[in-house]
Amino acid sequence: MKPQDFKDMYGSTPDSFKRSISNALRKTEAEEPMKKITMRAVLVTALMALLIAGVALAATSQWKLQDYFTQIFGTSIPQAGQEVLEQSGSETYTLGGAKFTRQESIADGNLVYFSTKVESMDENVILYPMTTGDMDMPLPDTVIDLYGFEKNATILDAAKAKKMRVYGVSVYPEIVDDSEYTTEMLDDRYQEDGSIVMINMLPLKTDKQEIQMGYNYRFTEFDPLTGEKIEESVVSEMDILTLPVQQPLAVRTFTASDDQISNSVAYVQSVTLTQKVTGVYVDIHLMLKGEIGADSTIEQELYGSFELLDDDGKAYPVGIIFSGGLDDSGSPEIIIKDMVSMESMPDHINIGTRETDSLKIVETFTMTDYTDVK
C-alpha cells in the first residue's frame, strides 16, 4: 500500500462539496474583509437554534435577546439580566440606505451578547442579511406575507418581480486587542415590518471589569437583476464601545464522593454553578475511570450522560452548549459546560445519569454538599 492509496481512501472530492466552496467564495465577493482588529479563539460554541430548523417562531413586535432565548433556546434571561439589557442603551447609525440600531449589549465574562435592529431608510427595499442569508434560499414566510411575494421566492426572484432594491446589511462585533479570530454565533430574524433583528454572541473569557469592543456595520446594495454587489454602494463603519463585564453573582461548588455518580467511563467529581445575570453556567467536572483508548464511543457516553435535573426530574433547558472534550490535553479530567436558565442559586442539585442506548435517566443523585466560593 502506497501513501497515495492512503490519501485516496477518501475518494475524490464530491462536486457538491466543490459547489459549496464556490458558493462561499461567491459570497465573499460581496463583502470586504474586516478592519484590522484581532480576535480571540476561545471555545467552540453552538447554537441549539441551528438544530431546530423549522421551529415556529411567535411574532413579536420588537424582537430582542429575551425573545431569542425564549423562542430558540427555550430558556429565559433572569430578571437581573433583563434590567442590565434594558439599561444597555441603544446606539443608532445610518449607513448607506439603512439604519442600524444596536438595541442591547451585555458581557457576562463567558459571552458577549448583542441584538441589532436594521431598517431600510428608503421605500420599496428588501433587506438582505449578508452574514447569515443566502440569495438562493427561499425567503421566510414573514417577508413573503409582508410584501405579497410568491411562495418560496428568493430575494432576487422577489426583488425582480416587485422591482425592489436589495440592501445587504451586516454587523460584526469584535473584541479589541485579542489575538485570534473567534467563533461567533450569528442569527437574524425578519420582523413583521421588513426590518431585521440580528443576534450576535461571541465568546469572552476574561476576568477584566470592562472590555473594549469594535462594532462593525456594513451596507452593500445589490443589483436585483444579477445579484452582484454595486461596488460604489459599499459603506462600512466601526464603532468602538466599552462594555462593563458583569461579574458572577454567586459561585457554588457541589462535591460528590468518588464514583458516587458514574457511568461506565467517568464519574462526577463536582459541579460548579456560576450565577451570572444572564443565567447559570454549569461546569460538570468529570474524571475518566481509565485511560482513553481508541474507543470512539467515549465522547458519546460523556456528552449528555450526566444531566442537571430539576426537582421534578426534568432536564433544564440548555441555552448554550460549550465545548468540553477529550481532545485537548489528554487529561483524565473533563469539564462539560452548559448555560441553563435558573433564577437563583439552589441549595441542592440533582444529577441524572442517562443510559446511553435508551437515553432514559437510569439514576438520579441529589448533591447537597456544597461550598460557596463567592
Binding site: 500500500m1 502506497k2 501513501p3 492509496d5 492512503f6 490519501k7 485516496d8 481512501m9 477518501y10 475518494g11 475524490s12 472530492t13 464530491p14 457538491s16 462539496f17 459549496s20 466552496i21 458558493n23 462561499a24 467564495l25 459570497k27 465573499t28 465577493e29 463583502e31 474583509p33 474586516m34 478592519k35 484590522k36 484581532t38 467552540v44 453552538a46 441549539m48 438544530l51 452574514t131 460584526y172 489575538s179 485570534e180 479570530y181 467563533t183 482513553i292 483508548g293 481508541a294 470512539s296 464511543t297 467515549i298 465522547e299 458519546q300 449528555g304 452548549i321 465545548s323 472534550g325 477529550l326 481532545d327 485537548d328 490535553s329 489528554g330 442517562r354 446511553t356 442506548d357 437515553l359
Partner: protein, 155 residues
C-alpha cells in the same frame, strides 16, 4: 490579499478541506456547511492572519472549529442513539476508510494532517492547539493502532 487571490488559494486546497472535514463529520451535508462557514469566517477575519505563509494552517484550523461547532451539539442531541453512517465518495476505498475512521478522532485528525496532508508536526500541533509532544504521542499511538494494516504507509 485580494478576493481573487483568496479564492485561488482556497480552491487549490479544496481536497485538503474535504479530507479534514470528512475526518470529523460523518455526513456530507455537514461537511459542506462547515466548509462554507469556514471560508466566510476566514475571509472576514483574514487580517487577523499575520503571516501569509500560515494561510493553509489557518484555514484548516478554522475549518476544524467549524466542524466541531456542528458536531458537538449534534452528538449531544443524539447521544448514542445512532450516529449516522459515514458517507463516502463513490470512488473511496471503503475498507481502508472504515478501518481508519474506526480510530478515535483524537488519533485520526493528527494522522490526517501529518501523514495525509503533509503538514509538519509544528503546523499540525498549531492547528490542533496542542503541544508538539502531545501530537507526536498521538501519531505514535495511532500508528500502533493501525500498524498491522498501514505500517507500509506510515512506517
Amino acid at each position: 490579499m485580494t478576493q481573487e487571490e483568496f479564492a485561488d488559494r482556497i480552491v487549490a486546497m479544496q481536497d485538503t478541506l474535504y479530507r479534514v472535514a470528512t475526518t470529523i463529520l460523518p455526513q456530507l451535508c455537514d461537511r459542506e456547511d462547515a466548509v462554507q462557514g469556514a471560508i466566510e469566517k476566514a475571509w472576514r477575519k483574514q487580517r487577523s492572519l499575520r503571516n501569509d505563509q500560515a494561510f493553509h494552517a489557518w484555514i484548516v484550523r478554522i475549518l476544524i472549529n467549524e466542524c466541531y461547532t456542528i458536531l458537538r451539539p449534534r452528538k449531544r442531541e443524539m447521544l448514542s442513539d445512532t450516529l449516522p453512517e459515514r458517507e463516502t465518495a463513490p470512488d473511496a476505498m471503503p475498507d481502508v476508510y472504515q478501518m481508519f475512521t474506526s480510530l478515535d478522532e483524537k488519533y485520526r485528525l493528527p494522522m490526517v494532517l501529518y501523514y495525509v496532508e503533509g503538514y509538519s508536526v509544528q503546523e499540525a500541533a498549531q492547528m490542533l492547539k496542542m503541544p508538539q509532544g502531545t501530537l507526536k504521542s498521538r501519531l505514535h499511538r495511532g500508528r500502533l493502532l493501525l500498524k498491522d494494516d498501514l505500517k507500509e504507509v506510515l512506517g
